[in-house]
C-alpha cells in the first residue's frame, strides 16, 4: 500500500499534463456551460491574452471550496461562474469582506450596466454594489402537453389566469382506474417539496421571502394569500396538482406518461427536457405563465448564475477582460441559446434572428422570441446570504400548511389562509433568528439605525 501511495504520489508530482496551462484559472459548475465555453476559451488562449485554464467542478464542491476561500484564504479560481446559492455565500460577512471584486465602477464606466437586463443584475447586487456579470435572465413560461390538450380541443391562448387554466383543463384530469387516460393525470406539476417552484410562483405574484431591497418579509399578505391558493391546488380529492420531480428518471417517465399536463418552464429547463425526454419532441408547447390575477405578471424567474472575479486574483484587469469576452460577446450569447436554450441578459443581442427560429421540440414555436418578450418583466431578487434558508423555510411552511389543511379537510383557499399565515409567521421568526445570529448584520442594522 505504501509503495502504491508513493508511486501514485510521484506520478502526480511529475505528471506535466496536470499542471495549469493558464495564468488565470476559472471554475464553472454546469456541464452545458462548460461545453459552450471550451471553444471560446481555446480561442481566447490562442490570441494575445493572458491564458485561462478552465475547470468544471461540481456545484457542492464549488460551494465548499468557495466558502473555504472566503473564510480561510484557501486558494480559489480567479474567475468563478457561480450559481445563485453559491454566490450568495459571499455575502454573509461585512461588505468589505465579500470575496468577489466589486465590479460596479467598471460596469458603469464601460456602459455595460445599460446593456444588461436590469432584473438579471439584482441577485449579484449587495449593499448597492455589483459583484458579478449576469449569465442569464431565466424567464419562466408554462410548458404543457400540447398533444393532449389540443386533442381535447382546448384553446390555451384564451387562458389568462391560473384559475382559467384549472377550469379549462379540469376535464382532462383522470384516475388510472376510471377508464380515462389509463394513468393518474393532473393539471399542474407543483408540490410542497419543491422549494424552487414555490419561490417562482411567489416571485411572480410580487411576493417571496425577501422584498426587492432585501428585507425579510415571509409573512406578508401577498405570500399568505398565494401560499393558501397554491396549497388549495394540492389538497382534497379533486386536487389539480401532482409531484413530477425534475432531474430524475422517475420524473422523466411521468412526463412521458402525461402524469401532469403543465410544468413551470424556465428557459434552461427547455434544454433539460430536450435532453432527458426526447420522445416528447413535437408534443410540448410553452406559453406565458397564467397570471395570479387578470392583468398580472405573466412570467417569473427560476435559477441564475454570474461570473465573478475573486479578490485574490493577481491580475484583475486580465480577469475582467476575459469575463467580458465570455459573457458579453454576441457569439457566446447565441451559442448559449443554441446549445443551452438560455436567453442572454445582454439586450443588444436580442434582435438576432436566431431567437425567431422555430423550435421543433416545442412544436415549431418561436420560443426564443417568446422568452425574450417576457425578459423585461422578470421579477427582481435581492442578494442575500439567507435566501437558501428562507426558501427552505417557506417551503416547510407550505408543506405544513398542506398537511394541516389535508388533515382538517379544508380545501378552499380562503379557509386555508389562516393556517398559511400561522405557518409563514413561524417561518419568518425562524429565518429572522437565523439572521439575528449574524453579528455583522446586527452591527450594520445598528449603524443604519444610528444614521
Amino acid at each position: 500500500m505504501i509503495a502504491l501511495a508513493l508511486i501514485s504520489g510521484a506520478w502526480i508530482l511529475v505528471d506535466g499534463s496536470r499542471e495549469h496551462s493558464g495564468e488565470l484559472s476559472m471554475w464553472t459548475f454546469a456541464e452545458p456551460h462548460y461545453a459552450i465555453y471550451v471553444p471560446a476559451v481555446k480561442e481566447w488562449n490562442a490570441g494575445q491574452h493572458v491564458p485561462v485554464d478552465m475547470h468544471l467542478i461540481g456545484r457542492q464542491v464549488m460551494d465548499r471550496r468557495l466558502l473555504g476561500g472566503f473564510l480561510g484564504s484557501v486558494p480559489t479560481a480567479d474567475v468563478i461562474e457561480a450559481e445563485r446559492s453559491t454566490a450568495s455565500l459571499a455575502f454573509a460577512g461585512p461588505l468589505e469582506a465579500v470575496g468577489f471584486v466589486d465590479l460596479t465602477d467598471r460596469l458603469r464606466a464601460e456602459g455595460i450596466l445599460d446593456v444588461l437586463n436590469p432584473p438579471s443584475l439584482s441577485p449579484w447586487t449587495y449593499g448597492g454594489r455589483v459583484f458579478g456579470i449576469p449569465h442569464d435572465v431565466h424567464p419562466v413560461m408554462l410548458g404543457y402537453r400540447a398533444d393532449i390538450v389540443e386533442a381535447a380541443g382546448i384553446d390555451m391562448d384564451s387562458i389568462e389566469t391560473w384559475d382559467d387554466l384549472f377550469e379549462a383543463l379540469r376535464p382532462l384530469q383522470s384516475k388510472a382506474g376510471d377508464g380515462g387516460s389509463g394513468v393518474d393525470r393532473y393539471i399542474m406539476s407543483i408540490w410542497d417539496s419543491e422549494s424552487d417552484m414555490i419561490e417562482t410562483l411567489l416571485l411572480q405574484a410580487g411576493g417571496g421571502a425577501f422584498t426587492d431591497t432585501g428585507e425579510l418579509a415571509i409573512d406578508r399578505d401577498v405570500n399568505v394569500e398565494k401560499v393558501a391558493r397554491m396549497v388549495s391546488w394540492m389538497v382534497g380529492p379533486d386536487r389539480v396538482a401532482t409531484h413530477v420531480p425534475e432531474f430524475s428518471p422517475t420524473g422523466d417517465r411521468l412526463k412521458v406518461e402525461g402524469h401532469a399536463l403543465c410544468y413551470l418552464m424556465p428557459d434552461w429547463m427547455c434544454n433539460v427536457w430536450r435532453r432527458n425526454v426526447p420522445t416528447l419532441e413535437g408534443k410540448v408547447k410553452v406559453m406565458p405563465l397564467p397570471a395570479w390575477e387578470p392583468g398580472g405578471r405573466r412570467t417569473s424567474v427560476w435559477g441564475g448564475s454570474m461570473l465573478g472575479i475573486a479578490k485574490t486574483t493577481k491580475d484583475i484587469d486580465a480577469a475582467w477582460a476575459f469575463a467580458k469576452h465570455l459573457y458579453l460577446s454576441e457569439e457566446l450569447a447565441l451559442e448559449l441559446y443554441r446549445v443551452g436554450d438560455i436567453v442572454t441578459p445582454v439586450r443588444e443581442h436580442w434582435d438576432n434572428p436566431l431567437f425567431d427560429e422555430p423550435d421543433a421540440y416545442f412544436s415549431g414555436q418561436r420560443k426564443g422570441r417568446m422568452y425574450i418578450d417576457l425578459a423585461p418583466d422578470v421579477p427582481l431578487r435581492a442578494a442575500t446570504p439567507y435566501f437558501t434558508q428562507a426558501r427552505a423555510a417557506v417551503q416547510n411552511a407550505v408543506s405544513r400548511t398542506r398537511t394541516e389543511a389535508e388533515k382538517a379537510g379544508i380545501y378552499d383557499a380562503k379557509s386555508i389562509e389562516p393556517i398559511a399565515r400561522r405557518q409563514l409567521e413561524l417561518a419568518q421568526r425562524e429565518v429572522a433568528s437565523l439572521i439575528e445570529r449574524n453579528a455583522f448584520h446586527r452591527d450594520s442594522v445598528a449603524k443604519g439605525g444610528d444614521e
Binding site: G72, A92, T250, L254, Q389, E430
Partner: protein
C-alpha cells in the same frame, strides 16, 4: 570481560505511535482547542471576527430547528437501538442454529450492504423509496392490487387506493422512518456479525444444562444466552448510539437538501454542516459540535462504567 549490558532504547515505541500522534494532533487536538474560541466568536474569515461570548450556545438552546434536529437524532438513535439491534441479534441467532444450511451465504447476504458502502446504499435506497415509480411503493401498490383480487377480503373497503400507495412520501414527510429502515438495511448485518461471534462463544453445555432443567427457549434466551453475550451487547449498543448520534451521510444523500420536507430528516450533524458550510456561521456550527461532543462523551463514559461493572461482577 564483563561487558556492561547496553540499556534498551526507548525510542522505538515513540516512533511507532508517531504517525498516529501527528495525525491526531493536526486533525483532532488542534481543531478541538481552536473550537473553544471559535464557539465564542462570529466569524467570516480570519479578518472578520467578533467576540460574542456564549451567545451561540444560548441561541442554540432557543433555536427550534436545533431542537428538531436533537429530537430527530434521538429518535434515529432509539430506532437503531430498539429495532436494528434486536433484528441483528435475531439474525445472528438464526444463523447460529446448529445444522443450518447456507450459513456462509446468508452471512454474506446480510453483511453485503457493508461491502458496497454507505453512499451506494443511500443512493439505491433513495431510488427505491421514490414516489410513483419507486420499488417500495410499486410493490405496495402491486400487493394491494393482488389483495383486491382475492374474494371475501373486501380489500377495496379498507385498503388505501393505488394512487395513495404510489404516492407514499417516504423521502419527504416520512424521512425519519425511511432513514431508520435504510440504516437497518445497512447496519443490521454488520451488528449481526458481532452477535454471531458472541453467540458462538456461549458454552453449549450451559444451554444443554438449562434444557435438562426444563428451561424453555425464552428462559434459555434470557437466563443463559443474554447474560453470556452481555459484554458484546453493551459494546454494540454503545457503538450504535455513537454512530447514530453522528448520522449525516444517509440523510445528506437521501433527502432533499439533506433534511427532507418540514425538517423531518434534519439531524444534529446535518444542522452543524448546514450552519457552518452553507451559511458560514462557524461559531454556531462549533457550538452545535460541542453539544454533540458532550453527548458522545456521555455515551463513552457510560460504556466505560458499564464495562467496569461487567468486569467486577
Amino acid at each position: 570481560m564483563n561487558a556492561k549490558a547496553k540499556p534498551k532504547s526507548n525510542f522505538a515505541p515513540y516512533m511507532l505511535i508517531a504517525p498516529f500522534m501527528v495525525l491526531f494532533i493536526v486533525f483532532t487536538l488542534v481543531p478541538l482547542i481552536q473550537a473553544v474560541p471559535l464557539a465564542t466568536h462570529h466569524t467570516f474569515g480570519p479578518s472578520a471576527t467578533q467576540y460574542v461570548g456564549f451567545e451561540k450556545f444560548s441561541q442554540a438552546l432557543h433555536d427550534p430547528r436545533f431542537w428538531t434536529a436533537m429530537r430527530n437524532t434521538l429518535l434515529f438513535t432509539a430506532g437503531s437501538v430498539f429495532i436494528q439491534l434486536p433484528v441483528a441479534l435475531g439474525l445472528a441467532m438464526l444463523l447460529n442454529k446448529p445444522g443450518i444450511k447456507g450459513r456462509g451465504f446468508f452471512r454474506l447476504l446480510f453483511f453485503s450492504p457493508q461491502l458496497v458502502g454507505l453512499v451506494f446504499v443511500a443512493v439505491l435506497a433513495s431510488v427505491m423509496f421514490q414516489k410513483q415509480k419507486g420499488l417500495v411503493n410499486s410493490l405496495l401498490a402491486g400487493g394491494a392490487d393482488w389483495l383486491r383480487g382475492l374474494p371475501l377480503l373486501h380489500a377495496n373497503s379498507w385498503l388505501p387506493s393505488r394512487s395513495d400507495l404510489l404516492g407514499i412520501p417516504w423521502l419527504e414527510t416520512l424521512a425519519l422512518p425511511t432513514l431508520i429502515i435504510t440504516a437497518l438495511w445497512m447496519y443490521a448485518g454488520f451488528n449481526m456479525v458481532y452477535f454471531l461471534a458472541a453467540l458462538q462463544n456461549v458454552p453449549r453445555e450451559l444451554e444443554e444444562a438449562a434444557m435438562i432443567d426444563g428451561a424453555g427457549p425464552w428462559k434459555r434466551f434470557t437466563n443463559v444466552i443474554l447474560p453470556s453475550i452481555r459484554p458484546v451487547g453493551i459494546f454494540v449498543v454503545l457503538l450504535s448510539v455513537i454512530g447514530s448520534i453522528q448520522v449525516f451521510e444517509l440523510a445528506y444523500i437521501m433527502l432533499r437538501e439533506g433534511v427532507g420536507v418540514q425538517d423531518k430528516g434534519l439531524t444534529l450533524v446535518t444542522y452543524l454542516f448546514k450552519s457552518g458550510f452553507e451559511i458560514g456561521d462557524l461559531g454556531y456550527a462549533t457550538a452545535i459540535g460541542w453539544v454533540i461532543a458532550v453527548m458522545l462523551a456521555a455515551a463513552a463514559v457510560t460504556q466505560r462504567v458499564l464495562q467496569r461493572r461487567e468486569m467486577t461482577a
